[in-house]
């Protein structure tokens, strides 16, 4: 056990883990976020709190994480390298740990051009690989990037990162996972899986190298609410691939929402059967209320009692 977070414990127990995702609002009123967190509290081990996702200014993920901790819930703090340099990233990590955060997820972050401040200066002082290594060094060696030592050892954290088997070059995506493992990552959440065949192929390559034994891989899923949402994601969301079959299936469906849910639940059921998949990460952004139903219908309820 590294950090002893609930997420880590479920993974370590060999049971299929479930994480949810909450997007902080474009205001300081986090009533809705707390409501969603409360609603799915019995259905997920932990909640990712996105870090100004798609480069849109939102309440800080660490601030929202602190509120979740006050509610007795467990956050996974997303940290992108887009908006903060190494001074700020390391400082925020210390702050997050001081607030009781145990899970941190390292990402590059969508380019600032996608957000509501497209004229912003992108920081990218370090990259996501280096962020993983930085957190590991702070945790295990008590050292900052510059080599100076932390005044006091850091409470242990469970370090996460993302993998996108749908990005290119495809053959490099397993190399990249291995590189993240070497950098020190403990768990992985993948980009939303719609192209299950490609995901299976990626997992096969992962298993060939035994990487699934070195890191816990949580497959990412997203329920699609409408045909429009599917088309939008297909054409506009960076890093997401939606096969034509999904579009056709939604087109042909009478009840689009139910079809979207079905696709999501079927994906989870398939993920459960894939060797080396340690859990699922449910990203129901702007449709959070449906998470309990997804978890239940996918046969993942009740959640393990620890």
């Amino acid at each position: 056990m590294i950090a002893g977070s609930k997420l880590e414990k479920v993974i370590a127990s060999g049971q299929f883990a479930v994480t949810g995702e909450l997007g902080p609002p474009k205001s300081a009123d986090i009533t809705q976020l707390k409501h969603h967190a409360h609603e799915m509290r019995n259905h997920v081990e932990a909640y990712n709190l996105t870090d100004n996702q798609t480069a849109i200014v939102r309440t800080s993920s660490i601030a929202c994480g602190a509120v979740l901790i006050q509610m007795g819930l467990e956050p996974v703090i997303q940290m992108t390298v887009r908006d903060r340099n190494r001074i700020c990233l390391q400082s925020d990590l210390l702050g997050a740990v001081a607030l009781g955060v145990k899970n941190v997820l390292c990402l590059s972050g969508d380019h600032q051009k996608f957000g509501n401040e497209p004229g912003a200066k992108g920081v990218f002082d370090i990259d996501s690989m280096q962020l993983i290594q930085t957190l590991k060094n702070m945790r295990d060696q008590g050292k900052f990037i510059g080599g100076e030592e932390l005044e006091h050892p850091l409470e242990k954290i469970f370090i996460g990162a993302v993998a996108n088997p749908f990005a290119d070059p495809f053959e490099y995506r397993v190399d990249r996972l291995e590189k993240k493992i070497n950098a020190g990552v403990n768990f992985i959440q993948t980009q939303c899986i719609f192209d299950i065949e490609r995901f299976k192929k990626w997992m096969e390559m992962v298993r060939e190298r035994g990487l699934h034994k070195k890191v816990a891989i949580l497959g990412g899923v997203t329920p699609i609410k409408s045909l429009g949402a599917a088309k939008y994601m297909k054409n506009n969301v960076s890093g997401i691939t939606i096969p034509d079959e999904i579009i056709t299936r939604l087109q042909g469906a009478e009840k689009k929402k139910e079809e979207g849910l079905k696709i999501c639940i079927e994906t989870i059921q398939q993920l459960k059967e894939i060797e080396g998949v340690a859990g699922v990460h449910v990203m129901a952004i702007a449709w959070e209320e449906v998470v309990p139903e997804i978890v239940e219908r996918a046969g993942l309820y009740p959640r393990p009692a620890l």
Partner: protein, 226 residues
């Protein structure tokens, strides 16, 4: 070379409004080659300003000429007397050339006629691409001649992010993913193992982030009086 682009005419008009005697000064090196600020462009711009002044019924003397490089004192000196006859010099050099003029001749009023864009090269007539950010610590030996600092929109050092799709960057389908190019080149050269090594955080102090840079070469420096 340094690539620049002419400022919008309206902005130039507004900048020059208070002045009667205007010199449009071209620069004979980079901006001549990239067709933004050479003799031809200086003459064209001077003509446009004359027409505009005439339309607005404002008196003006607008002349255009070019020096080899505005970023070297000796070339500026060659036209110094002539420049002093004007109320203002509209420099069609890059930002370096303009500032060299101002530092060398503080009494001279010099305004920018161009927006300095990038260090790069023309891939075809009329299309220039950026290839160097001048970070001060070249990594092209690691990436086999493709710069991730400049060509990756996130200046990543450890491979392509999750936004790379079909060889293109997430910011635009017109922008190649630099890391996809690097990956393919490393595969071709049998050097993919380089990509497996974790590159540590870059020391940006060698770049502009360390403050404006002064490069001193003791071996070529002349002592006073020599």
């Amino acid at each position: 070379m340094i690539i620049a682009d002419r400022k919008p005419l309206d902005q130039i008009k507004e900048m020059l409004a208070p002045y009667k005697r205007v010199c449009v000064l071209g620069c004979g090196t980079c901006v001549t080659v990239c067709m933004a600020g050479g003799q031809k462009e200086a003459e064209e711009l001077a003509a446009l300003i004359r027409i505009q002044r005439k339309q607005d019924q404002q008196d003006a003397v607008v002349e255009a000429f070019t020096i080899e490089r505005q970023c070297e004192f000796e070339f500026i000196d060659q036209v110094l007397d002539r420049l002093k006859e004007f109320d203002v010099v509209l420099s069609l050099a890059c930002g370096v050339g303009l500032q060299t003029m101002v530092e060398h001749v503080p009494d001279l009023l010099v305004l920018p006629g161009l927006n300095t864009k990038a260090m790069g090269y023309p891939v075809e007539q009329g299309v220039w691409v950026e290839r160097c950010l001048g970070c001060g610590d070249c990594v092209l030996h690691l990436t086999q001649g493709i710069c991730p600092i400049t060509r990756c929109a996130k200046s990543l050092l450890n491979g392509p992010c999750g936004g790379s799709a079909e060889g293109k960057c997430e910011i635009s389908k017109d922008t190649d993913c630099a890391w996809h190019l690097i990956h393919d080149r490393l595969v071709k050269l049998g050097r993919l193992s380089v990509l497996a090594e974790i590159q540590p955080p870059k020391d940006w102090s060698s770049s502009h982030h360390g403050g404006p840079r002064t490069i001193v070469r003791e071996d070529v420096k002349l002592d006073r009086g020599e």
